[in-house]
C-alpha cells in the first residue's frame, strides 16, 4: 500500500516539482499514474522507494508511507525489500553478465542463503517466462527481453509493491502488450504501480488511475470514472476511440474499437473510392541492397525500394528488424556491401557523408547524442558551418528556422536545459539548417506525451507539405496511420511489405507476420467493414454519412 500525504519536493534551486500531493492505493491491483511529460511522475516514482530524499537531494515536506514504512525514516536498502523499481531504459538497469546474475544481485545483497537465492532466481524467471534467458548476457537480448529481466530482478526482492516508470517507452507494440499482460497477472498478488504518459496504453489493464498535473494528483478513480470526467481533456489526450465516442455523443464513453463498432452500426462500404495522387519523380532508389555488420548483428537482405519526391514514408517492424540499419544507408553512414543506393542522382558508395548530408538530413532518436554547443543558435549553425556556408547566410537560415520551428525564444539557451520535446525540435532544426530535401526521423514519439507529439508532428507535416520527403522510423502505429501515406514493413532484414498505409494495414497476413498492432481506428474500420477509415476525419466522416448511430 502506498500512502502519500501532502508531499512537496523541489530539486535544489528549482521550482517545486511535487506540490501538496496526496495519494492512497490499495494493497493489490494495477494502479496507473498518468500525466504529461514533465508533470512530476518520475520524481514521484523515485520518492516511493526512498531514492528521494536519501539519494537524490532536495527540499522535501509531507509524508510518503509504503507498507506502513515512512520512506524518510527508513533507508533505501530496507525499503528495497518492499518496493521494487523498474526504470524506462532497460539498457542502463542491467549491469551483470547474465540474467541469472542480474536477478541474483538483489537477493545476494540481502545475504540470503544460496538455496534461497537460487529459488528466487528460478521463481522470477518462471513468472516472466524467460527461463531460456538464464545464461544469456544483455547483449544477446532484445529490448523487450531486457526489460523482462529488469522486472524479474525487481521481483526477486519479493516486494509487495512494484513501481515501473514508463516501462515500455522503448519497446515495439508486441513486446509492450506482452509486458502489460505480465504486469496485469502480477497485480493479482501485489500492487503494480505504473507511471505512463499515454493513458491509452494502460486503460484496459488498470484497476485504478490517478491523473497527475503540475506536481499534484488532479483526478483519481476507476478507468470508467476517469474517462467520463468532464475535466479529463484539460490534462490529457484520450485515445482516439474515446474522443470519437465523446464527439458523436456516446456516453458513457467507450474505449474499445469493438464497443464503438457495436454502438455505431455502420453499413458496410467496401469500395475504395479515395485515390491518392501518384508521385512520380524518385529521390532515393535502392537497388539489390545487401548489408551485414562485421559481428553479423544486423543484416539487410536484398532490399529494393523507390522513394518518390515529397512522399511521407513510415518504416515499421519489430526491434531489430533492420529499420535503422536501412535508414543509416540513406545518408551514407553505412555503405552497401552489395547493391547501390542512388540519392538524388548520387551513388552513396562514392559520395562522402558530408556531401550527402546536404540532401538527406537524419534526426536521431535521442537528441542528447548531438548537443555540444552552448546555445541553440550555435547548435543549429554547426551543420551549415561544416558545409562551408557563409556566416551571413547561416544567420539568415537560423532566423527563418527559429521562426518556422517555434524555437525563437530559446535561441540563446543551452540545448541541454530544454525539455525532451523541445530537444527533438532542436535536433530537427539543426538538420533543417543544411536544407536537405529528405528528412529521416527516428522514433519521433518515444518518451513524449501526445500533445507534444502532435505539435512535433505538425512541424514534420508542414515540412512535408512544403516539399520535403519524410522518412519516419517508428513503433507508434497511431503516428503511422495519422501521417504516413506509405508504409514499408521490415522483418529480419527484409522488406516484407510496401504500399499505401491503408493497404498495408488491411493485409492481415502482413500485419500478423510483422507483429504490428492495428491502429485503433483501423480496428474499428475493420469491424464495421469500412476499410477506408484511417484517420479521425475518415472515421467521423463515415459515421456522419451513415447517420445511423444512436
Amino acid at each position: 500500500m502506498i500512502w502519500i500525504e501532502d508531499l512537496s519536493f523541489e530539486y535544489s534551486g528549482n521550482e517545486n516539482i511535487l506540490k501538496n500531493l496526496n495519494l492512497k492505493t490499495g494493497k493489490k491491483g494495477f494502479f496507473s499514474l498518468v500525466g504529461r511529460s514533465g508533470c512530476g511522475k518520475s520524481t514521484l516514482c523515485l520518492a516511493l522507494n526512498g531514492l528521494i530524499p536519501h539519494e537524490i537531494g532536495g527540499k522535501i515536506s509531507g509524508k510518503v508511507e509504503v507498507n506502513g514504512l515512512d520512506t524518510q525514516k527508513h533507508p533505501i536498502k530496507e525499503l528495497a525489500t518492499h518496493v521494487g523499481m523498474v526504470f524506462q531504459n532497460p539498457e542502463s538497469q542491467l549491469f551483470a553478465l547474465s540474467a541469472e546474475d542480474e536477478i541474483a544481485f538483489g537477493p545476494s545483497n540481502l545475504a540470503l542463503s544460496l538455496d534461497e537465492i537460487e529459488k528466487r532466481v528460478t521463481n522470477a524467471l518462471k513468472l516472466l517466462k524467460i527461463e531460456h534467458l538464464r545464461d544469456k548476457s544483455p547483449e544477446e537480448m532484445s529490448s523487450g527481453e531486457k526489460q523482462k529481466v529488469a522486472i524479474a530482478s525487481a521481483l526477486a526482492m519479493e516486494p509487495e509493491i512494484l513501481v515501473l516508470d514508463e516501462p515500455t517507452a522503448n519497446l515495439d507494440p508486441a513486446s509492450t502488450e506482452d509486458i502489460f499482460r505480465i504486469l496485469k497477472k502480477l497485480s493479482r498478488n501485489m500492487l503494480v504501480f505504473v507511471a505512463e504518459h499515454d493513458i491509452g496504453k494502460v486503460l484496459e489493464y488498470s484497476d485504478m488511475i490517478a491523473v497527475m498535473d503540475k506536481g499534484s494528483i488532479v483526478l483519481e478513480g476507476t478507468p470508467e470514472k476517469i474517462l467520463n470526467d468532464s475535466m479529463i481533456d484539460k490534462y490529457l489526450y484520450l485515445p482516439k476511440i474515446c474522443r470519437i465516442s465523446k464527439k458523436i455523443g456516446i456516453f458513457p464513453i467507450v474505449s474499445k474499437a469493438s464497443e464503438l463498432a457495436e454502438r455505431t452500426r455502420l453499413k458496410r462500404r467496401l469500395s475504395s473510392e479515395k485515390k491518392r495522387k501518384k508521385k512520380s519523380e524518385s529521390i532515393i532508389e535502392i537497388k539489390d541492397l545487401w548489408f551485414e555488420y562485421k559481428d553479423k548483428t544486423a543484416v539487410l537482405k536484398n532490399i529494393n525500394l523507390d522513394i518518390k519526391k515529397g512522399e511521407f514514408v513510415a518504416i515499421v517492424g519489430q526491434n531489430g528488424a533492420g529499420k535503422s540499419t536501412l535508414a543509416l544507408h540513406l545518408n551514407g553512414l553505412l555503405k552497401p556491401l552489395r547493391g547501390d543506393i542512388i540519392v538524388d542522382g548520387k551513388n552513396t558508395k562514392v559520395e562522402k557523408v558530408s556531401s550527402l548530408s546536404k540532401i538527406v538530413g537524419y534526426a536521431f532518436q535521442n537528441p542528447d547524442i548531438q548537443f555540444f554547443e552552448d546555445t541553440l543558435t550555435e547548435e543549429i549553425s554547426f551543420g551549415p558551418r561544416n558545409l562551408g556556408v557563409k556566416d551571413s547566410e547561416i544567420k539568415l537560415r537560423a532566423e527563418s528556422i527559429f521562426r518556422y520551428t517555434g524555437l525563437e525564444k530559446f535561441r540563446d539557451k543551452d540545448p541541454f536545459s530544454l525539455s525532451v520535446g523541445q530537444k527533438r525540435r532542436v535536433s530537427i532544426a539543426s538538420i533543417l539548417s543544411m536544407e536537405p530535401k529528405v528528412i529521416i526521423i527516428d522514433e519521433p514519439s518515444t518518451g513524449l506525451d501526445i500533445k507534444t507529439i502532435n505539435s512535433l508532428m505538425k512541424l514534420i507535416k508542414k515540412l512535408n507539405s512544403s516539399g520535403h520527403t519524410i522518412i519516419m522510423i517508428t513503433h507508434d502505429m497511431e503516428l503511422v496511420s495519422d501521417y504516413a501515406e506509405r508504409v514499408i514493413v521490415m522483418k529480419n532484414g527484409e522488406v516484407i511489405g510496401d504500399g499505401n498505409t491503408g493497404d498495408v494495414f488491411n493485409n492481415e497476413k502482413l500485419v500478423r507476420d510483422a507483429q504490428l498492432m492495428l491502429p485503433e481506428l483501423m480496428r474499428f474500420g475493420k469491424l464495421v467493414g469500412d476499410i477506408d477509415i484511417i484517420t479521425m476525419d475518415d472515421c467521423l466522416d463515415a459515421i456522419e454519412k451513415n447517420k445511423c448511430c444512436r
Binding site: 531514492l51 542502463s92 542463503s113 548531438q370
Partner: protein, 240 residues
C-alpha cells in the same frame, strides 16, 4: 568492440575451473621468462598452441585476435636485435626467440579469455579473495565497454549526419583536439546520465545492505587435477 571475447565450446579446457587455468597462465608466463633456451621456448609455444587445439577454438577467430602480435612482434624484435648486434644470424635468432617469449604470453592470455566466460572469471576472483568491489567494477567494465563504444558510434554518426568530419592531424594537434569536441561533450553527458541511472537501479536493489552471499559455481574436479599435473610436469622438466 569487445574487450572480452569468450567463445563457447564443449571442451576439456572450457570445463576446467578458471583457477586451474589461472595457475597455468601464471606458471607458463613465469617459465618462459625464466629461460632463454630456444628449444624450451619453442616447446612452450607449441604446448600453448596445443591447448588452443584441445579447446577446439575456431582458428580464424584465434588468428584474428592475435595476428597483429604474431606478425609485428618478430619483425620488431629482429629489427631491434639487428640494430643492437648488427645484421647477422645470431641477431636474427635472438630476435625470433625473444618475440616467441611474448607470443607464449599473448597466446595463453587470449586462450584464457576465449575459454573462460567473464562470469566464471569473476567467480574465481571472488573465490581467490579479491575484494568484491573490484570484481563488481570489473563486471561493469566488461558489460559496459561495448555499450559505451556503441554510444560513441551513435554520437559520431549524429555529428557526421551534420557534415562533421572526424580527423586527426599530427601537424596541428591542438586543432585536432578541438575537432573532437563535438564528439567528446555529448559522450561525456551520456555517460554521466547513464551512470546516474545505473546507480539508481543498483541502489534500488539494496546494494551494500549486507555482506553479499555469492553463488558457488566453481567445481574443482579430476580434469583440473590432471591439467595441473601436466603443468607441473612441464615446469619440472624445464626447471630441472
Amino acid at each position: 568492440m569487445k574487450i572480452y571475447e569468450y567463445v563457447h565450446r564443449d571442451s576439456l579446457i572450457h570445463r576446467l575451473d578458471p583457477r586451474s587455468k589461472l595457475v597455468w597462465l601464471v606458471v607458463f608466463s613465469a617459465l618462459v621468462f625464466m629461460t632463454s633456451d630456444a628449444k624450451t621456448i619453442a616447446m612452450l609455444l607449441i604446448l600453448t598452441l596445443l591447448v588452443a587445439l584441445v579447446a577446439k577454438l575456431p582458428k580464424k577467430q584465434l588468428w584474428s585476435n592475435t595476428k597483429i602480435f604474431v606478425v609485428l612482434m618478430p619483425i620488431g624484435y629482429i629489427l631491434l636485435y639487428f640494430l643492437l648486434l648488427g645484421i647477422n644470424m645470431e641477431a636474427f635468432v635472438g630476435g625470433l626467440v625473444f618475440s616467441a617469449k611474448f607470443l607464449v604470453l599473448i597466446f595463453s592470455a587470449v586462450i584464457f579469455t576465449m575459454t573462460t566466460s567473464a562470469r566464471d572469471l569473476l567467480f574465481a576472483l571472488t573465490k581467490l579473495k579479491v575484494p568484491y568491489s573490484f570484481a563488481f567494477m570489473l563486471t561493469i567494465a566488461i558489460r559496459f565497454i561495448p555499450v559505451i563504444s556503441n554510444e560513441i558510434n551513435n554520437v559520431i554518426n549524429a555529428q557526421r549526419a551534420r557534415a562533421y568530419e572526424l580527423n586527426f592531424s599530427f601537424k596541428s594537434p591542438l586543432r585536432s583536439v578541438q575537432n573532437f569536441i563535438p564528439v567528446i561533450i555529448p559522450v561525456l553527458m551520456l555517460l554521466l546520465k547513464r551512470s546516474h541511472e545505473l546507480s539508481l537501479s543498483i541502489d534500488s536493489r539494496a546494494f551494500r545492505a549486507n555482506k553479499m552471499t555469492y553463488p558457488e559455481k566453481l567445481k574443482f574436479g579430476l580434469e583440473d587435477c590432471l591439467f595441473l599435473f601436466f603443468v607441473a610436469v612441464v615446469s619440472s622438466i624445464i626447471l630441472v
